[in-house]
Amino acid sequence: MTLAAFAYQRPRSLAEAVEAMAEAPDARWLSGGMSLLPMMKLELAAPPALLDLSGVEDLRGIRDEGDFLHIGAMTRHVELARDPAVRRDAHLASLAAERIGDPQVRNRGTVGGSLAHADPAADLPAALLALDAEVEAVSARGRRALSVQDLLLGPMMTALEPDELIVAIRIPKHTGHRQAYTKVPHPASGYAVVGVAVAIHEEGGRVRQAAIAVTGVALKAFRAARAEAVLAGQAVDQEVLAEAAGLVCDGQDVLGDVYASAAYRRQLAQVVTRRTLEGLR
């Protein structure tokens, strides 16, 4: 199989990358390619030029920045899954990363690439939403931060300008929070039919803060605000969990497809949410 031709450049620094994009505004960023290449192969994307980010050192590395973890955008899923700091301070991100695709995908796919691609059934967006993460984006116009919540607009759609590049993800530390990611994968593609990410902070037997994010169910990953509200301030028991789980898709336009109808997906999301919450008790 031969893909449509494209121009190619491998910038050596962030500045060079931003400059190259300014000169070729139709270009697309290439990081791990685990989403972009399948799309090009299925003829869903045909970028005239690719800017390969693998030579940009500034996009690598995981750093402790006090209350935050700084995750370079080119961090691969396998690194996110294994990194001791992430496992300690933002465990949910590791848990989601280790459920992405299969080992070959995790060895190439990157955090920034996954977020920028914004597949509505991808795993990381749910985990990063639940962790209140933000992304740092850069372009010729400068640098800005935006929350993952604000980043995700719809299927394969983000708030990034075409020339903007995610350089890092900043995750507030969730050390000591109870975290879990449960996924029902599509048996062929490995994407989530339903994926539920939960982070719960309890104090004195009551939920102080509950974050529930869901992927695979709607046109973008979302926070289940009503379900979270049910848990907030509660001493959690079976009944409360069930009530929260029942509300997980509240207000969402649930997707149906060949594999799972909307009604089934809704039910699956509720079951998965309940079980994930139960598993954290």
Partner: protein, 750 residues
């Protein structure tokens, strides 16, 4: 050793047969030197790429090839009417989405692919007949004129295997064949029966799922000799198709079967006539390799079926009537799967009253071909699901119900023949005795059982054996080795000659050089070619013994062969090695004629093989997710010549059965568009989905097979879907009658 019927011999009498040996093609495949068709690149080759129709039914108004032809490197662009002998491209009308309409040839594969995108086809879109039931209605438009269609060669090859020869009767619209088995008065028997169960089952079309796509290349030389390299299960079948279509004498077509990266019935004849035609026209070698999406669209898959079954029985479990109506959706060619399905559905259990009616129906979908035991998994999914339901209604153990009714040697088949010695009862008994059923079940777990059978194919075959000057044996065959058959042939020859299998080399040769052998399909390669190998080896043995008799001054009857030497029985030390004898057959001034012989077989009796499977599944009551947690596969293999490879066939068949049960669906939307056109959509079982399998090999020897062996490839792919469905029913009380058993269907089932 020289027993006329080797199956009489007890196991202890064998030196090599029945002892597992690793595949002789293992090292080459393991180091990446397998020799697949994509690895062969004829020097100076050009490359062809297909243009496919996006519409299930349309008239071709016009084609603009100018842009494609203008691309640098493009050598030719052909439309179907220019290449009728290629037997692949549509001429004026397309009958399925994905039907090839043009081919672009270039000096580089990427250029051919790029240029194919530029071929502009102007279609007049016509209404498509997508549903088989709808196609049969009197007011349905004709999919195409029947006389324009040809039965696909490979499906036909399998169809003959079961020997189904039912009467053809009145045909509804778009029906290419009607199969009818009637016996007694089924309706009256049902009226008088104590219990009846009725249900309608649906199976989707399936893709064979081989990891290597179709690919072929050809070189038509100016002398008129045409050589074809291709991935096929039957090189002689390809030769016969090409010589017929291109109107060449058979000796001028040489087909070289490459190593096959999975066939499962799907690798018959496809691209070969096209590449041969292109090479002939262009005077250059031409190669074509389908990409995965094109392979899914153009390859002939296994058919969808709708089957309604009614079983009626007395309260003691005795079957009194089988009624069934089967509709096979064969796509835009004749196909032919209903025959085998009807025969097995009506013939597996003793039953005095039958009313079984099968239809092969045409629709605007890709023409179907053969997929591992074509027709049988469909028929048995319906029959064995219904048997399970009947057992439940009768409160009878499902294995006991089957034991009570199973056919055995001498019973009538619905086609007027009688069953030869078969192992269905033996398999059922072996299953019933297995501890698999005693292991405690977890919550939401259940066990289901199902049987299945395959008629077994026949085809004349020949092989040759020759002793090299070093005293090794070379076995020459023309059968394609997919399942390890060459390794089995080495064991057979080794056994006959008392020679270590390490000293036996099986050489595959092309159609110009090899003795005839049929396609590796229908579970018949070991059964037929294996017998020819045994005959050839016996003949060489005789030559060796005659020479040795002179050298050792002993009578032939007093000689024996073992460990690569001829010994005088009872006289230790009086022996001559094969190498010593052979040395004189290939040297200047030698006086011994070369040791070489042919063996031939034309087996007249097929050896049906039966299997009984039991699946244990755990069903998530909230999500409907089904996990197979245990599996028992019992199979009558006649005799396991190379047991580990036989087990390998069974394990692969079990996995494909689980895929059919739970995951696979070559789905179309309501307009006739295929929607599972990549492995991102077409779900095959992974490492997570197939459990460890307990295997029991039952050996009820075949009358004519080598050492009693039967074909083993097809039976293990048959019972799986029903076994899993029955296990789901046992775990949940819900019966899913539509495959695949998706989580959603489990929750929706009653």
């Amino acid at each position: 050793m020289a027993s006329a019927n080797p199956s009489d011999r007890s196991e202890a009498a064998f030196t090599y047969i029945g002892k597992s040996r690793h595949r002789e093609d293992g090292p080459a495949k393991l180091v990446g030197a397998g020799g697949y068709v994509a690895d062969l690149d004829p020097a100076g080759s050009w490359y062809a790429h297909l243009v496919l129709s996006p519409h299930p039914h349309a008239r071709i108004r016009g084609v603009d090839t100018r842009a494609a032809a203008a691309v640098a490197g493009v050598k030719a662009v052909y439309l179907g009417d220019a290449l009728p002998e290629a037997d692949l491209l549509a001429e004026s009308e397309v009958f399925y989405a994905g039907e090839p309409v043009a081919v672009v040839v270039a000096d580089d594969p990427a250029v051919a692919e790029d240029a194919a995108e530029l071929v502009e086809v102007d279609y007049d879109v016509l209404p498509a007949v997508v549903d088989a039931e709808a196609a049969m209605r009197p007011d349905a438009p004709l999919v195409r004129q029947l006389e324009d269609t040809a039965g696909r060669a490979d499906a036909g090859a399998h169809g003959d295997a079961a020997g189904g020869s039912a009467k053809t009767e009145e045909r509804p619209n778009n029906v290419s064949a009607v199969v009818k088995y009637r016996r007694g008065d089924a309706e009256a028997a049902r009226a008088e029966a104590d219990v009846s169960v009725t249900r309608r089952y649906h199976l989707p079309p399936l893709y064979q799922g081989f990891l290597e796509t179709h690919g072929s290349s050809a070189h038509a030389e100016r002398t008129g000799e045409t050589t074809i390299w291709t991935t096929t299960q039957g090189q002689f079948m390809v030769r016969n198709a090409v010589k017929r279509l291109l109107k060449l004498p058979d000796y001028r077509v040489r087909v070289v079967g490459a190593t096959v990266g999975g066939g499962f019935g799907g690798k018959g004849v496809l691209l070969e006539p096209l590449v041969a035609t292109l090479s002939q026209r262009l005077g250059r070698p031409v190669a074509m390799l389908l990409d995965r999406q094109q392979d899914i669209l153009v390859n002939n898959p296994g058919p969808a079926a709708d089957i309604e079954v009614t079983l009626s029985a007395r309260s003691d479990g005795t079957l009194v009537a089988i009624e069934a109506r089967l509709v096979f959706d064969n796509g835009a060619e004749r196909g032919g799967s209903a025959g085998i399905a009807c025969l097995m559905l009506a013939g597996t259990y003793r039953c005095p009253n039958l009313d079984v009616l099968g239809y092969d129906v045409m629709t605007h979908k890709v023409p179907i071909g053969a997929y591992r035991a074509p027709g049988a998994p469909q028929g048995y999914f319906a029959l064995e699901s219904a048997m399970d339901e009947l057992a439940g209604t009768l409160h009878m153990d499902p294995l006991q119900l089957r034991l009570k009714n199973a056919v055995q040697e001498g019973d009538d088949r619905p086609d007027g023949r009688t069953w030869p010695r078969i192992g269905l009862l033996e398999c059922l008994r072996a299953a019933a005795a297995h501890p698999f059923f005693e292991e405690p079940l977890g919550p939401n777990e259940g066990i289901g059982v199902a049987a299945g059978g395959w008629g077994g194919g026949l085809e004349p075959a020949a092989a040759a054996c020759q002793v090299t000057s070093e005293g090794r044996l070379v076995v020459q065959v023309g059968s394609i080795d997919i399942t390890g058959t060459n390794t089995t042939f080495a064991l057979i020859a080794a056994e006959e000659l008392g020679l270590s299998p390490d000293e036996v080399h099986v050489q595959f040769a092309d159609t110009a050089h090899a003795p005839y052998a049929g396609m590796a399909g229908g579970s018949k390669t070991t059964y037929t070619v294996g017998l020819a190998v045994a005959e050839a080896a016996k003949a060489v043995r005789k030559q060796v013994l005659e020479i040795a008799a002179e050298r050792l001054e002993a009578a032939v009857e007093d000689l024996d062969m073992a460990d690569g030497a001829v010994h005088v029985k009872g006289v230790p030390g009086r022996s001559v090695t094969l190498a010593e004898i052979a040395r004189d057959t290939a040297r200047f001034g030698g006086r011994t004629a070369p040791l070489i012989a042919e063996g031939r077989s034309a087996v007249t009796k097929s050896a049906p093989g039966f299997a009984v499977h039991a699946a244990r599944v755990a069903v998530d009551p909230d999500t409907g997710e089904v996990r197979v947690t245990g599996y028992l596969a019992v199979q009558d293999v006649g005799r396991a010549l190379n047991p580990k490879e036989v087990e390998g066939q069974i394990l692969g068949g079990v996995a494909q059965g689980i895929g059919r049960a739970l995951y696979e669906d070559l789905a179309y939307d309501s307009t006739g568009q295929p929607v599972s056109t990549s492995f991102l959509d077409y779900q095959m079982p992974t490492f997570h989905d197939v459990p460890r399998v307990d295997i029991v090999l039952v050996e009820v020897p075949a009358e004519q097979g080598p050492y009693g062996a039967k074909g083993v490839g097809e039976p293990p792919a048959i019972p799986g879907a029903a076994a899993v469905a029955n296990a789901v029913a046992a775990a949940t009380g819900r019966r899913v009658a539509t495959l695949p058993i998706t989580p959603e269907r489990v929750l929706a089932a009653q």
